[in-house]
C-alpha cells in the first residue's frame, strides 16, 4: 500500500491552508495600511480621528 499517494483530501486541505494564509496576510496588510491612515490623520493634539472633524468634513 503506497502511503505517499496524495488523496483528494490532501488537495482540499492544502487549498484551505492557502486560503487561510492569504486571509491572514491580507489582514496584516489591512491593519498596517489602516494604521498609516489613522496616524497620518491625527490632529494637532494627537487625537486619533474616531470621527472626522468638521473642517475635514467640509473638504
Amino acid at each position: 500500500m503506497a502511503l505517499q499517494v496524495e488523496h483528494e483530501l490532501h488537495r482540499r486541505r492544502f487549498g484551505r491552508n492557502i486560503a487561510l494564509g492569504a486571509a491572514l496576510g491580507a489582514f496584516v496588510l489591512l491593519v498596517f495600511v489602516l494604521t498609516i491612515v489613522k496616524v497620518s490623520r491625527q490632529d494637532e493634539h494627537g487625537n486619533p480621528p474616531g470621527m472626522v472633524s468638521t473642517t475635514e468634513a467640509g473638504q
Partner: protein
C-alpha cells in the same frame, strides 16, 4: 484509526465550503446597503477607513450566516433547498461552524470599532446578536411573524454604515432601516408562495403553512401598502430629493400593482401559470430595493454639482 475513517468518508472541507458558510448572496445586499448608508451620510470618511468598515460589516454579516447555519443544521437537513449546505452535507462539523462564526463575529466587531468608532462596532455586535439569538434561535421556530421581526437584522446595515460616518443615529438612518424592514415581509412571502419548501416538516411556522396561502397573499398586500409611506418619507429628508422621489413614486406604484395582482389570484390560477406573478413580484422586489438605494446615491452624486437634494 480516526485518520483512516476520515479518508473513507472523503468529506474534508475545502476553502469554498467555509466561504459558503458566510452566505455570500446575503452578504452582497449587506455590502450594498451599508455602503450607501456610509456614502450618503453628511460626514465624509477616508476611503480606506470606509473600505475597512464595509469589509468588516460584510464579515460580521457572514459570521451571523455561519452561526445561523450552525444552529439551523437540523432544519437544513430536512429541507431539500438547504440539504447541500456545508453543515448538513457533513463537510463541516457543527462545532467548526460555531467556532468559525464566533471568531469572525469577534474579529469583525472589534475591527469595525477600531477602524471607525465603537458605536458602529457595538451596533454590528447587536445586529449579529439579533439575527442569531432573536431571529434564528427564538422567533424563526416559534411564530409565523418570524420574517417580519427577523427582517430587522437585514435592515440594520445601512444604519451601521451611517454610524461609521456620523457615530450616531438620525431620522435618515432610521428611515433607511424602515425601508428594508417593511420591504422584507412581502419579499419573502412572495418567495414562500412559489418555493414550496417543506417548512411544516422542518417545524418552521411559515405564514403559508400556519395561515394558508390566501392569508399570505393578503399579508403581502397589507405590508406593501404599509411600506409605501416609509419609502416616500425618505425622499423628504436631507438625503432624499426630487430624483429619489420620482423614482420612488414609480417603483411604489408598480410594487402596489404587483401586490394587488397577487392578492386577486388564487392557487388554481397560480398553479396554472406556474406562479408567474409571484415570481415576477419577487424579482421586482429585489430591483425595488436596489433602485431605492441607488437613487439615494444619485442624489448624493448630484449634490457634488450643486443639484441633489431639496
Amino acid at each position: 484509526m480516526s485518520d483512516f475513517s476520515a479518508i473513507d468518508t472523503g468529506k474534508e472541507a475545502g476553502a469554498g465550503d467555509f466561504l459558503q458558510l458566510l452566505k455570500p448572496r446575503v452578504m452582497s445586499l449587506v455590502v450594498f446597503t451599508a455602503l450607501v448608508g456610509l456614502l450618503v451620510a453628511p460626514v465624509s470618511v477616508h476611503p480606506f477607513v470606509a473600505f475597512t468598515a464595509i469589509l468588516f460589516i460584510a464579515l460580521g454579516g457572514g459570521a451571523s450566516g455561519a452561526l445561523n447555519m450552525w444552529y439551523d443544521a437540523d432544519i437544513d437537513r430536512i429541507m431539500r433547498r438547504t440539504q447541500n449546505r456545508p453543515v448538513p452535507a457533513g463537510r463541516i462539523s457543527e462545532g467548526e461552524a460555531l467556532g468559525f462564526g464566533l471568531a469572525l463575529s469577534l474579529i469583525s466587531c472589534l475591527m469595525l470599532g477600531l477602524a471607525a468608532n465603537w458605536f458602529a462596532g457595538a451596533f454590528l455586535a447587536f445586529t449579529i446578536f439579533f439575527y442569531v439569538v432573536i431571529y434564528t434561535m427564538w422567533l424563526k421556530r416559534s411564530t409565523p411573524q418570524n420574517i417580519v421581526i427577523g427582517g430587522a437584522a437585514g435592515a440594520f446595515p445601512p444604519m451601521i454604515g451611517w454610524a461609521v460616518a456620523t457615530g450616531g443615529v438620525s431620522l435618515e438612518s432610521i428611515l433607511m432601516f424602515a425601508l428594508i424592514f417593511m420591504w422584507t415581509p412581502p419579499h419573502f412571502w412572495a418567495l414562500a408562495l412559489f418555493m414550496k419548501d417543506d417548512y411544516s416538516k422542518a417545524g418552521v411556522p411559515m405564514l403559508t403553512v400556519t395561515h394558508g396561502r390566501p392569508a399570505t397573499r393578503r399579508h403581502i398586500l397589507i405590508y406593501t401598502l404599509a411600506l409605501v409611506p416609509f419609502a416616500l418619507a425618505l425622499g423628504f429628508t436631507s438625503i432624499g430629493g426630487p430624483v429619489y422621489l420620482a423614482i420612488s413614486v414609480a417603483l411604489n406604484l408598480w410594487f402596489i400593482k404587483g401586490a394587488i395582482g397577487i392578492f386577486r389570484r388564487d392557487e388554481a390560477q397560480a398553479e396554472a401559470d406556474k406562479y408567474r406573478s409571484e415570481k415576477a413580484f419577487f424579482a421586482f422586489s429585489l430591483a425595488y430595493l436596489f433602485l431605492h438605494f441607488g437613487a439615494l446615491l444619485v442624489e448624493k452624486s448630484l449634490a457634488a454639482y450643486g443639484m441633489g437634494g431639496w
